[in-house]
C-alpha cells in the first residue's frame, strides 16, 4: 500500500517537476537554468563560446629572472631628418618646480607625438653653504641646498619638430630651473649604476 502510494507520489512529483521545467524553459528559453552555477562556460557548440577571452590577444611577457642584468635600450643614431637619442635634463633647487616641469615636458612630448624612451631621476646632490664667522676663523653651516635632477629621454626628435619643442619649453621654463638638452651616450647610461669597489678590487687583483 505504501509502495503504491509512494509510486503515485513520486510520479506526481516527477510530472510536477517536468511541468515546472517546461514552464521555466518556455519563459526564459535562451538563458541558464537558475540552479546552474555562475562560472560554467558556454557549451562549445554555442556560437558565443569563448566570448570574453582576451589573454590570447595580449603579447606574452617574458618572465624576468632576478639574475638578469638590466639591458640598455638601443641608442638611436641621427639620420638626415631626425636627431638621435636626446636627454632633456631638468635640474634645480626647488623639487616641486623641477618635478612639475619635467612632467610638463613629458606630457608635451606625448601631445606632439615625440617618442619618449625613458624618464628617470638622477640622485640628488647636496651642497652645504658654509659661511665664515665674522670674528673668528671657524666656518659654520649657513644653508643646505639640494639639487634635484630629472631626465626625459627622447628616442628620436624630428628636425621639423625640434625648434617648435625647444621654443615652447624655453618660453615655459620656470624661474630657478635649469634646462639642458644633450646627446645620450652609453656613458650616461653607465653613470646611473652604483660602483662596486670590492668587485673592481678583485678584478684588478686577477688581472695584476
Amino acid at each position: 500500500m505504501s509502495a503504491v502510494l509512494r509510486k503515485v507520489c513520486v510520479t506526481r512529483q516527477a510530472s510536477a517537476l517536468s511541468q515546472a521545467l517546461a514552464a521555466c524553459w518556455a519563459a526564459r528559453p535562451l538563458q541558464h537554468p537558475v540552479w546552474a552555477p555562475v562560472n560554467t562556460r558556454h557549451y562549445r557548440s554555442m556560437p558565443t563560446h569563448g566570448i570574453g577571452r582576451w589573454r590570447h590577444l595580449v603579447p606574452k611577457e617574458k618572465t624576468k629572472k632576478k639574475k638578469d642584468k638590466i639591458q640598455m635600450k638601443e641608442i638611436l643614431g641621427e639620420t638626415d631628418t631626425a636627431y638621435g637619442s636626446l636627454n632633456v635634463t631638468v635640474s634645480g633647487y626647488d623639487m616641486t618646480l623641477v618635478e612639475h616641469y619635467s612632467q610638463y615636458i613629458h606630457n608635451l612630448c606625448h601631445r606632439l607625438a615625440i617618442k619618449v624612451a625613458e624618464s628617470y631621476i638622477l640622485p640628488t646632490k647636496t651642497t652645504e653653504v658654509m659661511l665664515m664667522q665674522e670674528k673668528g676663523t671657524k666656518m659654520f653651516v649657513d644653508a643646505v641646498l639640494k639639487t634635484h635632477q630629472r631626465v626625459v629621454q627622447l628616442s628620436s626628435l624630428d628636425a621639423t619638430a625640434c625648434p617648435v619643442l625647444l621654443d615652447v619649453l624655453l618660453q615655459n621654463q620656470p624661474e630657478g630651473v635649469e634646462l639642458c638638452v644633450s646627446q645620450h651616450t652609453e656613458a650616461h647610461f653607465q653613470a646611473r649604476f652604483k660602483g662596486r669597489p670590492e668587485l673592481e678590487g678583485l678584478i684588478a687583483q686577477l688581472t695584476y
Binding site: 638626415d80 628636425a159 625640434c162 625648434p163 624655453l170 624661474e175 639642458c180
Partner: protein
C-alpha cells in the same frame, strides 16, 4: 632652384649640447645660454643633373627672440586660487623641526621664570640655551631687511622700443627696417640665399649683418615658416616671379656690450608686431611666433 630643399635633406644635422639656465640675475636682462656643438655641419653636395633655375628668389630670415626674464604676474582668479591652496596646505601641514624648537624654547623659558624652578630637573640642553631658536629667527629677519629685490616692472624701459630690458615678462621679437625692392620696410631681418650655403647659414649671415652685435643660438636646421611674395605683374620677368622667405628661429644668448640703440632695430611684443609688419607678412609670421 630646388637645390636648397635637396641639400637640406642631405646635410647631416648639428648635434648640439645646449644649456639654458634661468637665473634671476641677468646682466642685460637676458637668459644665460651656452652651447657647444659636438659635430659640425657637413655638406654633401651630390652631382646633380642640370635643371632650369627656379623663378623664385630665395631669402632666409631670422626670428630672433628674447625670452621672458621673469614669470608673468598671476591674474586675479589665479591669485585667489593660489591663496586658497596655500591656506589649505598650511592647515593640513605638520609642525616642522624649527617650529618645534621654538615651542620647546618658549616652554622652557616659561618654566625657568616660574617660582619653583629647579635647574637640576632640566636635561642637558647646554647648547640650545645659548642660541635660542627665536634669536636665529631674528638674525634671519635682519638679513632679509638688507636684501633689495630688483624691479619687476620698469615703466621707462617699457616705453623705449629699442631697449632690451622692456617687458621682462613677455617674449620679444627683433624687427628691422630694411631696404626691399625700392622701399624701406619693417620686417624680420633677412638676406638673400647664395649658392653653396644652407638656408640656416643664410639666416646666420642675416643676423650677423645687423649693426648691433647680437649673439644667438639657432634652434634647429629646419625653417619654422615661409612667406611667398609674388611680384606685381608689371615687374615679373621670365627669371623672377617673386621671392620666398624662409624663417628660422633663434634665441638671444648673452649679448655682449650693449650696442648703441639704432633707429632701425626694434624689440616688439607679438601684439605690437601688427603695427610694423605688412598684413600678409604678419599673417605668416603670426603662425610661428609664440606668445604663451
Amino acid at each position: 632652384m630646388a637645390a636648397p630643399c635637396r641639400r637640406m635633406a642631405s646635410v647631416t644635422l648639428l648635434y648640439f649640447r645646449s644649456c639654458f639656465r634661468r637665473t634671476a640675475v641677468g646682466s642685460a636682462g637676458v637668459r644665460q645660454l651656452s652651447t657647444t656643438s659636438v659635430c659640425g655641419v657637413t655638406l654633401q653636395t651630390k652631382s646633380r643633373t642640370e635643371k632650369p633655375p627656379s623663378p623664385w628668389t630665395l631669402m632666409a630670415a631670422v626670428c630672433l627672440q628674447r625670452l621672458p626674464v621673469i614669470s608673468a604676474d598671476c591674474s586675479p582668479v589665479e591669485q585667489r586660487f593660489r591663496q586658497m591652496l596655500q591656506q589649505m596646505e598650511l592647515e593640513k601641514s605638520l609642525v616642522s623641526e624649527h617650529e618645534l624648537r621654538l615651542l620647546e624654547d618658549a616652554e622652557r623659558l616659561s618654566r625657568k621664570q616660574a617660582d619653583d624652578y629647579d635647574s637640576d630637573d632640566e636635561g642637558s640642553h647646554g647648547d640650545q640655551d645659548i642660541v635660542l631658536a627665536q634669536d636665529l629667527e631674528d638674525s634671519w629677519e635682519q638679513k632679509l631687511q638688507t636684501f633689495q629685490p630688483g624691479l619687476r616692472v620698469n615703466a621707462d624701459a617699457d616705453e623705449d622700443l629699442t631697449s632690451l630690458e622692456r617687458c621682462l615678462a613677455d617674449p620679444l621679437v627683433l624687427v628691422a627696417e630694411q631696404q626691399v625692392g625700392g622701399d624701406k620696410l619693417w620686417l624680420l631681418p633677412q638676406t638673400q640665399w647664395q649658392e653653396g650655403e644652407t638656408l640656416r647659414q643664410t639666416a646666420e649671415r642675416a643676423l650677423n649683418s645687423l649693426p648691433a652685435g647680437l649673439k644667438a643660438t639657432f634652434l634647429g636646421n629646419a625653417p619654422c615658416g615661409v612667406y611667398k611674395y609674388k611680384l606685381p605683374k608689371a615687374a615679373r620677368t621670365e627669371s623672377t616671379v617673386g621671392t620666398k622667405v624662409f624663417f628660422f628661429k633663434a634665441i638671444l644668448s648673452d649679448s655682449g656690450a650693449p650696442a648703441a640703440p639704432s633707429a632701425s632695430l626694434l624689440w616688439a611684443k607679438k601684439s605690437e608686431l601688427q603695427r610694423y609688419l605688412k598684413p600678409a607678412y604678419m599673417m605668416k609670421v603670426d603662425r610661428f611666433v609664440l606668445a604663451l
